[in-house]
């Protein structure tokens, strides 16, 4: 079932190709694909970042429950770890913004 899901998801990419080829598309081949790439890339990055941060917070809360005296230091380390994990999703956001605003605008 997973392979059919992946193939179905990739079939979405056939739509801009068909639309552009039907109208005899000359310019503007990159713009639809850039927008799709920005959207899917940001979605994957946000989802995986959520998983990673969830595991970090779960371990931090477990450790704080186990040793309440060290709660302040564990909280500091947790905040630093969360910001570092989130920065990976921020890198993807920057790439998505570049794709949208440089290649996603159809000047035709």
């Amino acid at each position: 079932m997973r392979r059919s899901l992946i193939l179905g998801g990739l079939a979405v990419l056939a739509f801009p190709t068909a639309a552009l080829a039907a109208e005899g598309g000359t310019g503007g081949w990159i713009a639809p694909f850039a927008v799709i790439a920005a959207g899917i890339g940001m979605a994957i990055a946000a989802g995986l970042c959520g998983l990673g941060q969830g595991r970090a917070v779960a371990s931090a809360v477990d450790a704080m429950a186990r040793q309440p005296g060290a709660a302040a230091r564990i909280q500091t380390a947790m905040i630093i770890g969360l910001a570092l994990i989130e920065s990976l999703a921020i890198y993807t956001l920057v790439i998505a913004l570049i794709l949208l605003f440089v290649k996603g605008i159809n000047f035709a």
Binding site: I79, I80, A83, L84, S87, I90, Y91, L93, V94, L97
Partner: protein, 203 residues
């Protein structure tokens, strides 16, 4: 861009502004050095004292990071404790890692702040004179009801949630920036301390 252009103190014709400012800084530094080095005394006072303190601080900082020997032993530590055939690869990886650190700091800060700005811009687009409030003011009855309610909800949401969120993100990113800078400098310093201990042990 005219709105944010700052008129300079003076503008040399045909030369870009940043070049003029750099020359001004060069003239100030050279003048300071000249004034400080005129009647050199063994026990410094005044400007000479101040300049000597500044210079010694710079030298101490570079000494801390790179060790008293200099640049080449510091670079040799990049290779790390791996067998000899792998050392060139480790050296390249360390160079790339050291170059990626300012880049990652920059991109992290830029993405967080500009992401908040883009979110706010979209909210204003949905809510402003082209959106909900424009529909509320256009005179049609469903527009007034839906636009009014939606406008009030959006304003409450923005002022009550988005602005505090942006302030929290700014505070957190400043904290992370400072923390990472301290960690990078500490990682660079401990190489030279380890080296200095070895040399003290030998002698």
């Amino acid at each position: 861009m005219e709105a944010i252009e700052h008129p300079p103190i003076f503008r040399l014709p045909g030369i870009p502004d940043h070049v003029t400012y750099t020359w001004l800084v060069m003239i100030i530094l050279a003048g300071l050095a000249f004034v400080g080095s005129r009647h050199l005394q063994l026990v410094p006072r005044g400007v000479q004292n101040f300049l000597e303190v500044v210079l010694e601080q710079f030298q101490q900082m570079i000494d801390d990071v790179m060790g008293s020997e200099g640049l080449l032993p510091y670079l040799k530590h990049f290779a790390g404790p791996v067998p000899l055939p792998l050392k060139p690869l480790m050296f390249v990886i360390e160079i790339i890692s050291h170059l990626a650190r300012p880049l990652s700091l920059t991109l992290r800060l830029f993405g967080n702040i500009v992401g908040g700005h883009i979110l706010l811009a979209v909210i204003f687009l949905l809510m402003g004179l082209d959106g909900l409030i424009g529909w509320a003011l256009s005179g049609s009855v469903p527009g007034a009801i839906i636009g009014g309610l939606g406008g009030i909800v959006t304003i409450v949401f923005t002022v009550g949630f988005l602005y505090p969120l942006k302030i929290l993100v700014a505070f957190l990113q400043a904290f992370i920036f400072v923390m990472l800078t301290m960690l990078y400098i500490a990682g660079a310093i401990e190489e030279s301390e380890h080296h200095a201990e070895q040399h003290a042990g030998h002698h």
